[in-house]
Amino acid sequence: MSGGLVFQKIKGMFSLGRILGVFKKKKTISLGFYGAVNAGKTTLANRISMDWLGEEVGVVSEIPHETRDIQKVENVKVDTEAGSLNMNIIDMPGIATQVDFKEFEKFGLTEEESKNRAKEATKGVIEAIKWLNNVDAVLVVMDSTRDPYTQVNITIIGNLEARDIPMIVIANKIDSEDASPESIENAFPQHVVVQVSASTGDNMDDLYTAIHKHLT
């Protein structure tokens, strides 16, 4: 273990949030879903909301930046083996460092539709980053079929660490043949990683238990 990692672990153990957490457990947590574009955030938010409320949070699409506004579902009561918890699900637009309207034209959108979508997408990214100040805990959703060591993932995790916001890293899409959730575990060894498939529902019970254990 490197000196930096040891430093991180010690810092995490004695952080103000962690110390206060021993004395106080929040009744309802605002759970933000962060991640790169098309990582499966809305699919996961929908899965959780459908499991416990029977309603969806948002629309899922293969066209990037489908979620361009922050979408909320409140008072989702989840029962786990360890106990029950109440949460507000906040599905964020995907974080990106670039938005090229021409990418949307490849999916059959007109030039005007693409430009509008690009404009909304850039606003969505800005809003999602601003909302980091309003969430109690975060699920950082990553696509297991992609290289996890991207600047977007590094920036999201770095900001959560700097703000002392508890998080779980989600290795999503494990049902895919190309999935390599181990590469996510190797990239972020200092964080709890839960492997799931939001589309098939694989390992969702593990996720609920982990949320109860690490985020409340």
């Binding site: 490197s2 000196g3 930096g4 040891v6 430093f7 991180q8 974080i95 990106a96 460092t97 670039q98 938005v99 090229d100 309207f101 430009k115 690009a118 850039t122 606003k123 990214v125 800005i126 980053i129 601003k130 980091l132 290289d147 060591y149 600047q151 590094i154 920036t155 770095g158 900001n159 660490e161 700097a162």
Partner: protein, 143 residues
């Protein structure tokens, strides 16, 4: 005399065109040393980065941006995106969290940050990938 004047004007035009074409084919990297960065506050630093990147310059900073600076850089880049010339940035930060305890101590004492950050326009820098022993920047000309 008039013929001579119009001839030299023509030459100048051709030279300008040649220079413009050469500019389209060139990749420019600006290295910003830590001494220079120490003198700038976050806003000035990020403004300098983005103004260079918008001119198709790849910027290499001799320090790691903090996560907060990275998130502001992304937000500022999003605000600047248009549908003509600028579609965003590609960047990569190494160091900062990855460095050892002695590097941290040295950074604390000298007020200098270790690490490095590379930022480029997405139309030019296609990808920046971290390999086990190096970082690869994939850039193209005339993007």
């Amino acid at each position: 005399m008039a013929a001579k004047k119009s001839g030299s004007a023509g030459k100048k035009k051709t030279q300008k065109k040649k220079m413009a074409k050469a500019k389209e084919r060139e990749i420019r990297l600006d290295f910003i040393p830590s001494e220079m960065l120490l003198r700038k506050n976050t806003d000035d630093k990020l403004e300098m980065i983005l103004s260079k990147v918008k001119k198709n310059i790849i910027v290499v900073l001799e320090e790691a941006l903090t996560p907060e600076e990275e998130s502001i850089l992304i937000q500022n880049a999003m605000e600047e995106i248009d549908s003509k010339d600028f579609f965003g940035i590609e960047f990569y930060r190494m160091g900062h969290k990855d460095v050892g305890i002695f590097d941290r101590l040295s950074s604390f004492l000298t007020k200098r940050r270790s690490g490095m950050t590379i930022v480029g326009p997405t139309r030019m820098v296609e990808a920046i990938k971290k390999e086990p022993d190096h970082i690869s920047v994939f850039a193209k000309v005339g993007g």
